[in-house]
């Protein structure tokens, strides 16, 4: 079995105190507790501070383009659904540039595990508004304040019948670790939005700001009621629920594809001589 150290990668270039460190810690613990080894999983990431994540842990890695995590993960998963495929993305990455892929990955219910480092800001590019930045926030590009209503990723996910919808907080490591494990264990697409303080550029949504608002979803909460989940998802203000908001048992995308029912695509041999039959239809 793997140890925490087996998952330790390069030295992070994140700012001291960044919420990403806590996510990294929870991730490593979750993997070890799940009995996974670095070579058994692949992380796909985009560009942003979150995009660097797989370099700072150890695992198979495809660090692709800003916003395009999910399609890469989808293709990879279809090629090899024997392997857990994790996607690490930023809020700009995934809700901004890559919004269309998110919608359609949820519709597909492809078993990709999406972890969003939601710091409500563009970190790597030095502080622009992201889709989750609070309305009214004054920014260099919006000197009179952000005019759009922030995107509510969880409400969006429930609306798309995403099969696992949860929120974690980087400042609540054990709870976060548990959510990562639940997301991994779920059959189908999992969205875990992780509130991640950006200590350098986001002076509003700080550790304290989150800490005073976040609460664990009540133990008797039933995450299988979609309308109720929607209502819960709308809670984002003085109180912010963390935990599993919604879950269903839709069939996964991989399940629906007969060609890979038995064997992952990458394990299927190719025999050129068996292909001659294709010519028949042309006669």
């Amino acid at each position: 079995m793997a140890h925490l150290d087996d998952f330790e990668g390069l030295t992070p270039a994140w700012c001291p105190g960044c919420g990403n460190f806590a996510i990294k810690k929870a991730f490593k613990e979750a993997m070890v507790e799940l009995g996974l080894e670095p070579h058994q999983i692949t992380i796909v990431s985009g560009i942003g501070q979150s995009g660097k994540f797989p370099h700072y842990v150890r695992c198979n890695t495809f660090n692709g383009l800003h916003g395009r995590t999910l399609p890469v993960a989808t293709g990879l998963r279809l090629a090899n659904h024997g392997m857990p495929v994790l996607a690490f993305a930023g809020d700009g990455d995934c809700y901004g540039e890559g919004g269309n892929h998110l919608i359609h990955a949820m519709r597909r219910n492809i078993s990709v595990k999406l972890f969003v480092h939601d710091n409500q800001i563009y970190g790597l590019t030095k502080g622009q508004a992201s889709p989750t930045t609070a309305e009214g926030t004054v920014m260099k590009i919006q000197p009179f304040g952000v005019q759009s209503e922030p995107l509510n990723p969880l409400a969006l996910a429930v609306a798309l019948d995403c099969s696992f919808v949860a929120r974690g907080f980087a400042g609540d490591g054990d709870h976060l670790k548990g959510l990562i494990k639940e997301a991994m264990d779920h059959r189908g697409f999992s969205l875990l939005d992780i509130l991640q303080p950006c200590v350098t550029f986001n002076k509003v949504n700080t550790y304290d700001w989150y800490k005073t608002r976040c609460y664990h979803i009540e133990p008797d909460y039933n995450p299988e009621n979609r309308v109720q989940a929607f209502e819960k998802a709308l809670e984002f203000g003085d109180r912010i629920p963390i935990g599993i908001l919604y879950r269903n048992h839709r069939h996964t995308y991989e399940d629906g594809i007969p060609m890979i029912k038995e064997t992952p695509l990458v394990k299927q041999p190719f025999d050129l001589s068996a292909m001659k039959g294709i010519l028949e239809e042309f006669y």
Partner: protein, 578 residues
């Protein structure tokens, strides 16, 4: 006017979208090739689902064909527009068949044959749906061919629908056939003698076939005319041959999915037309940086922007060649025929894996939808070699670095999850291990590896252009991609009186070396060289100049969205002679 062989008939079926033009054309094409004839077809469709004016043009001969002619022997008019638009294309002994009742218009001139398609269908088949079968029967009758082949086709096609359907359609076909034989007194077509059964295949199907026969296991795309046929073809065979076809939410997703699958260890491909490919350009650059193999079918159509969605043009050559930010090697193939499409797709799949680079199959609406006739496809010319390091082979490596520096510039292509070695890659500049770096020395070495080391190796794989016609030509026609067919026939024709040859480029980039065939010397020796392109700017001519310094004497460019047909092309070529 050009003289075809004795057996060289052109049939044009015209009408509104939705009238079943392609049903008639499809049946006839199959029937003729089954009878051992050579057939060439091309389509002219508007971008609409019903109505408008469209046609399906088919040529039929006892010799191999590679282009359409401008002269029509049988015009099948399913609407009035077909008559008014194409009447003047009819050959001296040509005929126009139509259903006067259906189009409410009667023509008494001798070249018109009024066949009551609908009436006969109702009377003999029991439903007017069978009007197209009646029409098909009449054409067979006019051509003086045996009806049996048609009846056999009907039997196999309608078997699923039950005996009654078979019988009704047979009766309808016989009615059309009988009517034509009896009434077409002027019909003087010589029935071609039957030969061995042949195959009829279009460019898009050929690419799909080529991909499947190259071990492609994953195809992701977003529908876009004229590339959709490739996806349809592969999807139709996906279950039987174990291929995953994914309709992506957009083209950006398509190429990124393909890169994910390819990274995962599976041969993968995407396809689109210019506008959809424009959205893949960032992903192309990603393929280059991560050294992930990918094959992209780019089926051109007239642009800019939406342009003429169902028509043809060769105007994305330089775009494809320079697309993507940054500098990286790529392969560009532009097949001239479905046969070439199969073999070049196969070659592309092998090379992209061997060198871990992207390759393009550049076609256009004309080639995508044109059908060519072949005896067969020689599978022994197809190769499959797995260049990846898999399973045990990977595990046994003492250490593994996805982007290791090597003499050839090619690093071992491992598969994630198949060993305890980690497979790591990055869109940022990276170390041999695949991790982020900003080190200027590593950057320089990586550029040298990806670009300068691989490029000569890839270049050495590229075949020289094809020379067809006179081996010491005074006049050289130069073309690339889909103009091959009409150019080849133009040479056949003009070669009777002139020392003329065709120099055709289908492996376009890396630009072919001159060591095996010094085509520049050939061009320099010629008295006149003419570059023929289905675009306005003469993009291949520019590329030739950039790569070799050579400039053509003349250019022929067509950019109205229509392909070159034989007579028009020959006329234009004659016009440039000095």
């Amino acid at each position: 006017m050009l003289q075809g062989g004795l057996l060289d008939y052109s049939i044009k079926i015209g009408g509104e979208a939705g009238q079943g033009i392609d049903t008639i054309g499809g049946i006839l094409g199959k029937l003729f090739t089954r009878a051992g004839h050579y057939v060439f077809t091309h389509q002219d469709f508007e971008s609409r689902v019903r109505g408008g004016h469209n046609f399906y043009q088919m040529r039929l001969s006892d010799k191999p064909l590679s282009a359409s002619r401008d002269v029509i022997d049988i015009l099948v008019a399913l609407d009035n527009t077909t008559i008014s638009a194409h009447e003047k294309e009819i050959s001296k002994d040509g005929m126009i068949i139509y259903d006067a009742a259906a189009i409410q218009e009667t023509h008494s001139e001798s070249q018109f044959l009024n066949v009551p398609f609908v009436d006969l269908a109702l009377k003999h088949g029991g439903s007017k749906i069978m009007a197209n079968i009646v029409a098909t029967g009449s054409i067979i009758g006019m051509l003086g061919m045996e009806i049996e082949l048609l009846l056999d086709m009907i039997k196999s096609t309608f078997r699923k629908k039950g005996d009654e359907a078979v019988e009704a359609n047979i009766n309808a076909a016989r009615a059309g056939y009988g009517f034509a034989v009896k009434e077409c007194l002027r019909c003087s077509f010589t029935p071609a003698p039957a030969g061995t059964k042949k195959m009829l295949i279009a460019g898009n199907d050929a690419i799909g076939l080529g991909a499947m026969a190259s071990g492609c296991k994953f195809y992701a795309a977003y529908p876009m005319t004229p590339s959709t046929g490739i996806m349809n073809f592969i999807a139709g065979k996906a279950s039987a041959y174990g291929i995953v076809v994914e309709q992506a939410e957009d083209e950006i997703a398509a190429i990124n999915m393909v890169l994910g699958a390819s990274f995962g260890g599976v041969r993968a491909m995407t396809g689109s037309s210019g506008g959809g490919f424009a959205l893949m350009v960032e992903g192309l650059s990603l393929a280059a940086m991560t050294e992930t193999p990918v094959v992209i079918a780019l089926a051109q159509r007239p642009a800019p922007a939406t342009g003429l969605p169902t028509r043809t043009e060769q105007a994305d050559l330089l775009f494809a060649l320079h697309s993507g930010h940054g500098e990286f090697p790529r392969i560009l193939f532009a097949p001239g025929s479905p046969e070439q499409a199969i073999y070049l797709t196969n070659k592309a799949f092998n090379l992209v894996e061997k060198y871990q680079i992207p390759a393009f199959i550049l076609t256009d609406q004309y080639l995508a939808d044109s059908e060519w006739t072949y005896e067969t496809i020689d599978f022994s010319r197809l190769t499959y070699r797995d260049y990846r390091v898999r399973n045990d082979a990977l595990q046994q490596l003492a250490s593994y670095k996805r982007h290791a520096f090597t003499d050839s510039g090619v690093s071992p292509l491992g598969i994630p999850g198949e060993s305890t070695h980690l497979v790591v890659t990055d869109s940022d500049e990276h170390t041999e291990e695949g991790h982020l770096t900003e080190d200027p020395l590593i950057r320089t070495k990586m550029v040298e590896k990806r670009l300068f080391k691989k490029l000569p190796l890839i270049t050495a794989e590229i075949a020289p252009p094809l020379l067809y016609g006179d081996l010491e030509p005074k006049i050289v026609l130069v073309g690339w991609g889909s103009t091959y067919g009409p150019l080849k026939e133009a040479i056949d024709h003009l070669g009777q009186t002139k020392k003329i040859a065709l120099l055709h480029f289908s492996e376009i980039y890396p630009f072919p070396l001159r060591d095996r065939f010094d085509y520049i010397a050939l061009l320099n020796k010629a008295r006149q060289t003419i570059c023929v392109e289905n675009n306005a700017l003469g993009q291949f001519a520019s590329l030739m100049r950039a790569e070799t310094g050579y400039e053509f004497d003349d250019r022929i460019n067509r950019f109205d969205g229509r392909p070159f047909t034989l007579e028009t092309l020959v006329g234009e070529i004659n016009g440039t002679f000095r």
